[in-house]
Each structure stands twice: as C-alpha cells, then as structure tokens.
C-alpha cells in the first residue's frame, strides 16, 4: 500500500480490492482489459491480467447494451462496475440509467434492486470540445433512485468507490480528468468512506465554501489565500451530490452566516442552485448575505483554449464572490 498516490492509482486499487474480496463484483467497459490497453487513461490497468478477462470485460462500443447488461446482472445479484468512458456518452444510455436502474427497486415494490456502479470521467481543460467535457451530474441528481458520488482526492476516491460498490442501489461515480494525477494521502486497504456524508476540510467562522470534485482545488486555494487576509473560511467537500449532506452544510452556514457553492457544471438548474435553495429554506434567518454561486457559463464547452478558459470560472471569480458576500450591504431596503 503506497503512502501517497494519485486518483488513478486509488481507483485502480479500490477496484482490485473489490474484485479480490467479492466474487460478485465484475467490471465492464470499452477497452478496459489489458489486451485493449487497460483503459484509455490506464485506470483499470493490470486488473484483467490479475482477475481474468471474464471478470474485467472489454465491451463493444455499445453503451446502451452494456449498461443495460449491468442492470440485468445486478438484478440477478451481481455487483457490476460499468465504465462509461466519458460522461457525455452516458447520454447514449440514459434510458437504461434513469428509466431502469434508478426505478427498478421502486417499481418492483422492493423485490429487485440494482447494486451497480457506473464509473465515468469528465472535465474541461483538455480542448476536447462540446461532447467530451461536460459535467452532467444534475441530470442524475434529478432522478430519484440514483446516488451521485464525486470525489476530489485520492483517499476519498478509494473509500467512496468501495462504498459505492457495496451499496445496494445504483451509484453514478464521477471522476474528474484534471484531478486524476493529483497526489495525495493514500487510503488504507479496504478503508471505506460513507456515501452521503460531507467532509469539513477546513474549519472557519466567516463564510462556508462548498464544493465537490474539481472545485475543491480552487476553493481550498482561495480559502488559504483569504486566511492571510483575515477572512476565515470553512471549507466543505460534499463528496456526494445526491443525496447531499445538508445537515453538515446547514450547521456550518448557521455558524458562519454566509455561503458560497462552486462547481464546474453550468450554472443554471445545477447542484449549486439546489444547495442555495435549501440553505435559504433551512437557514434563512442566519444569512448575512445571499448564497453565492460560482459555476461555468451556460454554453456548450468550447474548443478554443481561450474560450474554454473563459467557459469555466477563474480563481478570482471565487475570491471576488467571497469578498462580495463579506461586504454585502442590502441596497434596496
């Protein structure tokens, strides 16, 4: 077990642990077996050699069929971990995810369940354009019956993935491409992190900064910088965006009186809107300023480098939003 590792290594180790310890676990996805390269970014490298190509199955390019096959195998009691290479490709199999995986427990009156994980990755910053970089988590969060997990560091990636595999319900597990190579503390073998529990990364008193996945990098940097300027930020990593751990969020906001949520997904109808609305429902009288949202612009992800940079937020956007919250004066009394 390494002391430090990146997210690629953490995910690989978690999958290996699950395959080793649970005969019902198997993996399916395009090019994931070693004969096909062990995954486009080598996340599954070595697993088919160790556990067999009959448990680490490279599939044809047919997301609808193999995601549906995951649903069928899960109904039969297996624990498939299905890899959709890039998050935009989940659009190809949304019927299987939202009409079937999400609803089968409910529609069957609890008789059958879908203990399946769908792993996917996405993120802007690689000039891959409008169909290879979207954050689509809100699509899934809007469907009752799905859990949505979005780790931001290696240790969480490991523990959340093992929890997702053990979960009796379907879990969408979203990895951020730009964070893959970030080194961090490694989880112990078999270490679990519960789904639905947020992590208070840093305690503070003036404002609560809420993020998940990639935005944890930026809000942590902003929090460190502002600490030096006398602003004490509490930093919360949601880890799971459905269900959201509102108890932790609301408790923090009641303490600080201010909140900001940042995500790479587009702003409209997003997780930030949901978090903001709930904070205002549950902690309105504690708020000293409106809840701030920092997110990407409502446009497809552009190709040109300068446009792609413009598409998402900058560090300064988060910093300025925090300062606006801190200096908020109600102007229309």
């Amino acid at each position: 077990m390494p002391k430090n590792e990146n997210i690629i290594s953490a995910v690989n180790r978690a999958l290996s642990y699950a395959l080793e310890n649970d005969k019902d676990v198997f993996l399916m996805g395009e090019d994931i077996a070693d004969e096909e390269g062990g995954g486009v970014l080598k996340v599954t490298h070595g697993l088919s050699s160790k556990y067999g190509a009959d448990r680490v199955l490279s599939t044809p390019i047919s997301e609808m069929a193999f995601t549906g096959a995951g649903v069928g195998a899960a109904i039969a009691g297996m624990k498939p971990v299905v890899e959709i290479m890039l998050m935009n490709f989940t659009a190809v199999c949304m019927d299987q995810i939202t009409n079937h995986a999400a609803k089968i427990r409910y529609m069957s009156g609890g008789q059958t369940s879908v203990p399946m994980v769908i792993r996917t990755m996405t993120g802007s910053g690689f000039q891959t354009g409008g169909q290879h970089s979207d954050f689509l988590e809100a699509w899934f969060c809007h469907t009752p019956g799905l859990k949505v997990v979005m780790p931001s560091n290696a240790k969480d990636a490991y523990g959340l993935l093992l929890s997702a595999i053990n979960d009796p319900d379907p879990v969408i597990y979203i990895e951020h491409t730009a964070s893959y190579w970030n080194e961090g503390e490694a989880a112990e073998d078999g270490e679990l992190i519960p789904i639905g529990k947020a992590n208070i990364v840093k305690e503070g008193n003036d404002i609560t900064l809420i993020g998940y996945s990639r935005s944890m990098m930026e809000i942590s940097m902003v929090a460190s910088k502002l600490q030096g300027e006398g602003i004490s930020c509490e930093v919360i990593d949601l880890r799971t965006v459905s269900p959201i751990d509102y108890d932790t969020v609301v408790k923090s906001v009641k303490k600080t009186g201010r909140a900001l949520i940042a995500h790479e997904a587009v702003k409209s109808f997003g997780v930030g809107a949901e978090v903001s609305a709930t904070i205002q429902e549950r902690a309105f009288k504690y708020l000293k300023a409106p809840v701030a949202r920092v997110a990407s612009k409502d446009t497809p992800v552009p190709f040109a480098k300068n446009l792609e940079t413009e598409f998402t937020y900058a560090l300064s956007d988060i910093e300025n939003a925090v300062l606006s919250c801190m200096n908020y004066v109600e102007s229309d009394k």
Binding site: A73, I75, H100, S108
Partner: protein, 320 residues
C-alpha cells in the same frame, strides 16, 4: 411434424385459456369502470408464451414488456398478484408501485417488465451474462414486438449476446403493428428473423399461432442456450385483436387483414385440434376451463378485498 405429447399440449392449452380468460376479464372490469389502468391486450398472442414456457424452469428468467401479461401468466406469475397490482392494492405483485407495465415476480423468474419499447433486451442480456458467469444453467427469455427490432437496443443486444455467447432467447412476437404503424412501413427488411444473420446467430421465423411450431423453435433455442452455444432470435408471427391499447379500434388495420386474422384465431383452432386429435374430450376441456374461470374469479375477489396501498408508502423503496 411429430405431435407433442398430450400432457404438453394440454399444458399449453391450459396456459392459453388462462391468458385468454384473464384478458376478457380485465376488459370487462375496465369497461364496468371498476379498475382504471393503461392496458395493452395480448389477445391473439396467447400461443407464443404458452408454448415456450412449458419448456422453462421456474428459475429461468423472463423479461417482458407492457404488452406482457400473457408472458407473465404463462411463466407462472399468480393471477391474483397481477390482479391486486392492477387494482393498486398492497397485496399486488409490486405493492402497487409498478402497475400492469412494470410487474416483477422473481419467484417465478419474472425479473422485469418494461414500458419502454426495446429496453428489455439489454437487461435480458445482463441476466444471461450473470448466468454464464455463475454457470447456473438458467436461460433468459426476452419478449418484444416487431417495433422494438428497429431500435438501437435490439441491435446492440443481439451483437453483445452473440459476441459473448450468452444463454438468452430473443422472442419477437410480431403482431404486425408497431403501435399504429404497419410492419412494412416501419421496417426495412422482410422479416425480423433475417436480422439474426448480421449477428451470427440462428434466426427462426415460426407461425406464432401454431403451438407445435413455437414449441419446436423454443426447444432448439433453449438447448442451444443451455449448451453454451449462445443466443437465438425467434420471430413468432401473430396478430393482436384489440388494438394497441384499450380504446384503440385499430382503424389503421385493413378490414381484410383483420378478418383473415380473426378467422385464424389460434385459440379456437387449437381447442378444435385437441378434440379432433383425441387429446381431450370437449367435456374434459370444459372442466379445465371451468377450473381456470374459478381461479380467476378468486383472483379478482382477492384484489378487491385487499386493502389499498398505504399512502405513507410513497417514499418507500426509492432506496434500500
């Protein structure tokens, strides 16, 4: 063709009778306004699941669609659980959460009923994948209509099942209309069965109104699946007598086609065959009919006598 054993023929007849009577009873209850539901009658298609299911074990898997009550009854899902589900009672197969388009009953292998055309095929492929991985010798039968053979999931699933040699049988109940659209108008080839050749599996077209023909095709497919040789596509030609859904008079179906189909109604033809071939006397068949009628009467009473689903259950079973 060699005539099937009498016991098998009678078993097929019993299933066909249960399906036909059940359909008539549903329609009567709906017409009387005692239950409301979206109902897709399979009247006319009884022979297909009746003839296949006599070859299946109770733990073999079934995946079917919104027009699938006949498939469920043939596989053994108790009528009273279906009735209670349709009536929205807590004793229903799915505690009132599924309704006629989403019945599940794992005890008889009925693992999924979907309301989305073609969506059951990938899921059936996955059930078969689990059987292959576990070596449990189960086969999966998935039913669908001719319209489903034009969606992507059909083609992807046949390809995947063939590449991986999965024990799944794809049964197209070709009733010649995809909702209101005639087969030829929506399908670019002459038969669904011919599409199997693209996926390197047997594709068999049979008369879906002939129990012996359906039985023979299913027997070969099941043996092939259990033997580890992979999937089969069966296209069983049939006709639905009650339109796409209740209230659809089928005005888009030419009168001549409708008349010919009615003349070839598989149910009375099969019954007459049983008598003529001395498989059973009219009296014996009447007795069987009467027993099924009583069973359905009990199912209806069970449904209406059961309590409604408790409103507090609305949030139950979203998650474990």
């Amino acid at each position: 063709m060699v005539k099937l054993e009498n016991s098998i023929l009678l078993s097929i007849y019993e299933k066909m009778t249960r399906i036909k009577m059940n359909d008539e009873r549903f329609i009567a209850e709906m017409s009387a306004g005692r239950i409301t539901m979206p109902y897709y009658s399979a009247r006319g298609q009884e022979c297909i699941p009746a003839s296949i299911s006599v070859l299946l074990n109770s733990d073999d898997y079934l995946v079917t669609i919104y027009r699938g009550i006949h498939d469920m009854l043939a596989k053994g899902v108790p009528a009273k659980l279906i009735w209670a589900e349709l009536a929205g009672r807590e004793t229903g197969a799915c505690k009132g959460k599924g309704g006629p388009m989403h019945i599940t009953h794992p005890a008889t292998g009925c693992m999924l009923t979907t309301g989305i055309v073609g969506a059951g095929l990938p899921i059936a492929t996955g059930l078969a994948l689990s059987s292959k991985m576990r070596g449990d010798q189960r086969v999966t039968v998935t039913n669908f209509g001719d319209g489903a053979s034009n969606i992507g999931a059909f083609h992807e699933s046949l390809n995947l099942a063939s590449v991986w040699k999965l024990p799944v049988i794809f049964v197209c109940q070709n009733n010649r209309y995809a909702e209101h659209t005639n087969f030829a108008k929506g399908t670019a080839c002459d038969s669904v069965a011919s599409r199997a050749s693209s996926y390197n599996m047997p594709g068999v077209q049979v008369d879906g109104n002939d129990p012996q023909a359906v039985y023979a095709a299913a027997k070969a497919a099941i043996e092939r699946a259990r033997g580890g040789d992979g999937p089969t596509l069966i296209e069983a030609m049939t006709f639905r007598f009650n339109g796409h859904t209740m209230g659809d008079a089928g005005g888009y179906i030419p009168e001549e086609e409708y008349k010919t189909a009615k003349e070839n109604d598989p149910y009375p033809i099969f019954r007459a065959f049983l008598e003529e071939a001395s498989v059973a006397t009219a009296e014996a068949l009447n007795e069987l009919d009467e027993a099924i009628s009583l069973e359905l009467e009990e199912a209806v009473r069970f449904a209406y006598d059961s309590p409604l689903v408790d409103a507090s259950d609305v949030l139950k079973d979203v998650f474990a």
